[in-house]
Every structure is written in C-alpha cells, then in structure tokens.
Symmetry: C2
Subunit: 396 residues, 2 copies
C-alpha cells in the first residue's frame, strides 16, 4: 500500500545534497506517509508535515493537528511516529473495546501535545540527530511564519527549498499509484460516457456536468476538474458548464477528471449530436491521429521533446496546418500536473513507471474546441493505456 | 455581484498601515476580483494575484497565467486591468462574431505577455506609482521564490505579510456572499435529507456519501467536506465513508458541506434507524439545546467568548456534565473557517454581516459521535438562520 517511491526520493535527496526532507503540501504529505490530512486538502493554511531522513527513510515522522488525529490513525498510514499539536477533546467510554483505528486514535491522543506544528517538527528532527543537517523543506505548504520559526528552533540546520525534490520523486509511480491512477482515469472515461448518454438537442452543459459528476461519485471518485463546452463555447480553454444548450452538429468538448483515493484523472473527449461540421470532423481526426502518434512513440529513453515535435507535426500534416501548442501532455499523480511536461524545451526522457496524460487540444474562437487526452503508464518497452474508450469523435 | 467588502478591506489596510494589498490564495483572488482562477483552486503552485490599492480600490489589477485567461474574461470579474503571463495558443476564425466572454478573451490574448507572474505584478504596482509603497502580500498563495523576486523587482517597496488583513475583511459578508452562503448551506441540508432517505439497516456509509454528494451536485453544488460515520465509527472526528453498515439503533453522524458558486457549507446532523440508545438521545438533546442557546444569544456586540461559555455550560447542564470543547463554531465564506473563531480566548464580538457556523459536537470513542451544526447570518438585532431542517435527532 506504500505510495512513495523511496528509491527515487532518496536519489532526489542525494542529487540535492539533503540529509532529510519535510513534506508540507497535501500531496507530498500523503505521498510520503499515506496520511490524508483532510483539513489541508480542503483549505489553505492548516499545517501537516512528514519528515523523511535520508539515512533511514523508514524512520519518518508525521506532524498533525490533533483535530486530524483520527486520519493519522488510519491503517493506510505507514509512518509510526505521529506527533500532534493543539487541543481537541475526544471522550472515551471506560473499558470499551475499540476497533483498530479508534484504539490507535486513543493511543495518539494520550501522547504529548507539542503545542504548535513547528515545535513538533523540530522535536522530530532533533530526535533523529538532524539538528545541524541540511534539510529540504517543501516550501509550498509550510506557512512562511512557520518556516521562520523552524529556522529559529534549528539555528545550526541549513533549510533548503525542496518542493522540486518531491516532484522529481513523484514522477516515477509505484504499483499502488499506477493502480489508483488507472481506476481514476477509467472513472473519468465512464463518466464521459454517462454524460454523452444524456446528450441530446436542448440538453445543457449543466446537464452534462451533473451526469458526469454523479457517475464519478457512483464509481467511488470525487469531482475535481470539469470543463464542459458546447459549440463555440468549447473554444474557451477552461469552459465552465452553463445553461447553454446543445445544438445539432455542434461539438461538445469534455476536459475532465476527478480524484480516486486521492489520485487525479485528466482526460478529454468530444461528442456531437447529429451531423458534425466537415471541418470539425477533419480537425478532430487530425488531433486524434496526432495524439495516437505521440502515444505510439512513448517508451523509456525517448525524449519528451521528440514526442512533442512528432505530435505537432502529425496534427499539422493530418489537417490543421497552423497547429501550435506549448505542450502536448504531462505527468499525473496526486497532483494533476506531475513531471514530465511534454514540451519542446524539455530535455527529459520518458522512464518506466511514469504515468502520462497525452493531449492535443485545439481551440478556435468563433468555431469550437476539440480535445483528445488519454492517460497511460510507461512500461518497460512501451505504454499501458488506462483508457476504456477510443478518442474518436462520438456521434450521437 | 461584488463579493468584496471594500470598506472593511480598506479599514484592514489602514489598521495595518498598507498602501495596497496583493491577494494570492484562490479564496482571496476570487474575493477581491470575482476571478475564479481554476488552476490554483485545484492545485498548489499556480500563481494568480489581485492588486488592490488603498487610494482607489476600484483601480485594481488581476495577474493570471494565459492558460486561465478565459476565466478572467468572465462577466463576473469586475476588475478591468488584467495582465497575463505565459504562452498558450488559441486560434480565432477570421471575421467570426464572438459572444461577450470569448470576445473579451480574444482582446486579452492580443495584449502583452509579461512572461512571469511577478513581472506582471510588479508592472501593475509601478503603473500605480506604488513602487516605494508599503504593500501587504497574502503570503499563503505566493510561492517563496516569487516573493523574493518581487522584492528584487521593487527594491524601494516594503513587503509585509498580509493574509490576516484579507481574513479580517472577509469576516463581514456582502449581500451577494450571504445569498450564496445561504444557498450553499441549504444544499447541504437538502443533501443530508437525501442521504437519510436511503438510510436503512445494512446500507453503508458509502451509500450515504454517494446519496449526499449526488444531491449536492443535482442542486448545483460540488462536494468538499464529507464526514459520514455510523455507530462507534462516528466518534472519529473526520470519519470517512467506508463499507461499514448501518445497524439498528446506531447513530449516523453527518459533518458535511460542499461549495456553491465558490462558497462553502459546513453543517451537521444525526439520524438513527430504529430505536436509539437512551444515552444517545439524552446527549443529543443536550448538544441541541446547547447549540440553540448559543444561537439565541448571538447578535451584534455580544462577545464570542460569552457565547462559547453559555453553549458549553448549557450542554453540561442538559445532560453531558463532562462536556469540553476548544471552540463551538466559526465564520464561513469562501474559506471553510473564516473569522471569528467562537473560542473562550477570543475577545472579538459578533458583528452584523458575519456568517457563522455554530456547532456542539460530542465524540466518545467506544460509543458514538453526535454533532449538530447550523449556519446563520448575524443581522442588525439577532440572526437569520440558513437552515431548512431542525437539528433534532432524525428517527428513521
């Protein structure tokens, strides 16, 4: 059930010269511990950290507010040293038999309250003899006042910004991550089909959005990304569902994906009720062929910039001669945009274990938006697609 | 349609000695401009800012990535000076008639690309003659590297952390905010009823969660907070829906709320299938009476600590003599926890226009979780409750 790619995180720490890293964003906290610290997932500001020492990554520590302690007691949390801060009252029936998660919650509540998050973190660092070490701190989730306070509590430590080290580690997925990402992508794919099932002349973008999101929930996911655009509205990059109605022959664009067990989906498909415009058909075919050409090329060792070039060149040759993009895909994981970014300036190569969204969208104001996006894992010698549906234009 | 309480933000800026403020979290960006910068709502790291000068708050500026430009072109965005950074290709059909949002998108795409977010922000600051001013920057959303770069680009400005100024402003809601918060709370209330409608012996927490979230979506909301616990599992503070089944007589606890037009809900109710345990009935009555006692006391000028004391004392007297809490409620708005926090140490008073969640939860490991939470606006002489349902224990 481990999510973290320990070897990759260690190699990232080594490259950056770090003795330990501290996760602070929701994604990195979950990644390095299994702890889903709800309050920081749904708000900005609540603090949760995970300390991972390079010398022994299994000797990690979680810092959490007492108000999230039951989530830190979850069986999915593999880190055993949990340090809490803040008051929160939970009573207990004397002598009651408790199930595992509640018994663990009680045990953690009986331990020391460190008072504030940084006192708890500094304690965990000192207990591991790292008070004079070089510590990489994920600078995106820690509040600046707490960064300052941590530096005060550890005057001999060197604190270094390290969000890029986590991003580096997260790029190569573990089997558990691939399994969750596959299911997440498939939920999105099934949800597009559910939305297209109710698509008809006069139905609204909101009708499509509701059908999409409810299917995602029925399948065990939660809504996150939802761009639903009909006709010329689909040319808006992030088109949000409105009361605009489907008209015959107009393209419906979906750029969508929820979350399944914390892992994101991001896929795109298009449908049309009735007879589509011939130019839309030609353009859609071009972006489809371009996307599949990119997917065919992906295997370990191939440069992402070469795949970018091939995709753009293919779309141009197949029917959109003026096609331009700044990227044609990206990694995906706990975050919707993991490494690598499939862009012309990127010198990275694909590696086994990456999970990639490949996309060739086309937006034309005054006409329509067209977008295909598949998600796949990079395998030893090619790719393993997560998709259920073909990316072709779906005629209704 | 203005969300921002301009007078309150100005008074916060004056108290803090600021010539301007820069919003950087999703909540504060939406609050000060109407701009819903999707990428930062669903990820950590994407940058969007709003500059609001104290001398003329109507002369504000939005900074956004080009990839979000269509959302900045939305009719709900009241700020006119929009500055973008980064490449993103959107084509246009020559001579096509464009609807308002797309025409505005095209206009913004035709303007300058500032290259990076801080260059765009520094430009907006300099254009207003504020290059040597005291500028409050919302330190939670801006990446530390961009804070540093902003300081470099504005060597004569004084940059001050200012997230607390936004929190101060957001505490007193505008009519548009109250309208959205009312609807958001009512969607949550209707969604609890929808979940209780399918509650029966053998149904699971997941069944309740799915029914709840789908109703939220049908009513135009999106899921955010979902704690669903049956029986002894309900004693876990943040209980997440599992395959645990409803048994007769066991309490079902909901602590839930989605988002409606970006505004949060957070309410709590309890139900039971069959005959409840007499102690649960007595305890539930106590927390209900305590919550309503608190609500009865709330009006402008009343100290939040006095309401805290009265609520706790009432719950103790009515049936839970050992009742302890660190707070019995909080503000709510774009963020799930706005000011004030209804805590014993808080010297603030209630003010007209606050929107408040009042809650008296009780968690007992080995027994159950019980929680009631209402949402209401503070009016000139009392409160305006947003709730549809009574907080009483719902017998099924």
């Amino acid at each position: 059930m481990m999510l973290m790619n320990t070897d990759r995180l260690l190699s990232g720490m080594k490259r950056a010269g770090l003795d330990a890293v501290v996760a602070s964003t929701p994604e990195n906290v979950t990644y390095t511990s299994g702890f889903w610290a709800m309050s920081q997932w749904i708000r900005r500001g609540p603090q949760a950290y995970v300390l991972t020492p390079a010398a022994d990554p299994s000797d990690a520590a979680v810092v959490t507010s007492t108000g999230q302690i039951d989530l830190a007691a979850d069986a999915e949390v593999w880190v055993k040293d949990i340090r809490r801060f803040g008051k929160f009252t939970v009573d207990a029936t004397p002598g009651a038999v408790l199930d595992a998660q509640i018994a663990r919650t009680k045990q953690l509540l009986d331990e020391k309250d460190y008072g504030d998050p940084v006192a708890a973190l500094a304690g965990a660092i000192k207990d591991r003899g790292l008070q004079a070490a070089t510590i990489g701190v994920d600078e995106i989730g820690i509040l600046p006042e707490y960064w300052d306070k941590l530096a005060e509590l550890l005057p001999n430590a060197k604190l270094v910004r390290a969000s890029s080290v986590f991003r580096y580690a997260r790029a190569i997925k573990t089997p558990e991550e691939i399994s969750r990402l596959r299911r997440s992508a498939q939920i999105a794919d099934l949800s597009i089909t559910a939305a297209l099932d109710i698509a008809r002349e006069g139905a609204t973008e909101m009708d499509l959005a509701r059908a999409f999101h409810c299917k995602t929930i029925e399948e065990g996911g939660l809504p996150v990304l939802g761009c639903f655009g009909v006709g010329s509205r689909g040319a808006m990059i992030n088109v949000q569902a409105s009361e605009a109605k489907i008209k015959k022959g107009e393209i419906i664009r979906f750029d969508v994906g929820g979350r399944y067990r914390h892992y994101r989906a991001d896929i795109a498909r298009n449908g049309v009720v009735g007879e589509p415009d011939p130019r839309a058909v030609r353009y859609h075919n071009a972006i489809c062929v371009g996307m599949y050409r990119a997917i065919d090329m992906i295997k370990p060792g191939v440069r992402v910039s070469d795949v970018f070039d091939a995709a753009v060149e293919t779309v141009r040759r197949e029917g959109i001669p003026h096609y331009q993009r700044s990227h044609i895909g990206h990694g995906i994981g706990l975050d919707g945009y993991d490494a690598p970014n499939i862009a012309p300036s990127n010198s990275e190569v694909f590696e086994e274990g990456m999970v990639i969204c490949v996309e060739t969208p086309y937006y034309e104001m005054g006409f329509a938006g067209l977008q295909v996006e598949d998600t796949l894992a990079v395998t030893k010698d090619g790719v393993d697609s997560f998709m259920i549906s073909h990316a072709k234009l779906r005629l209704i």
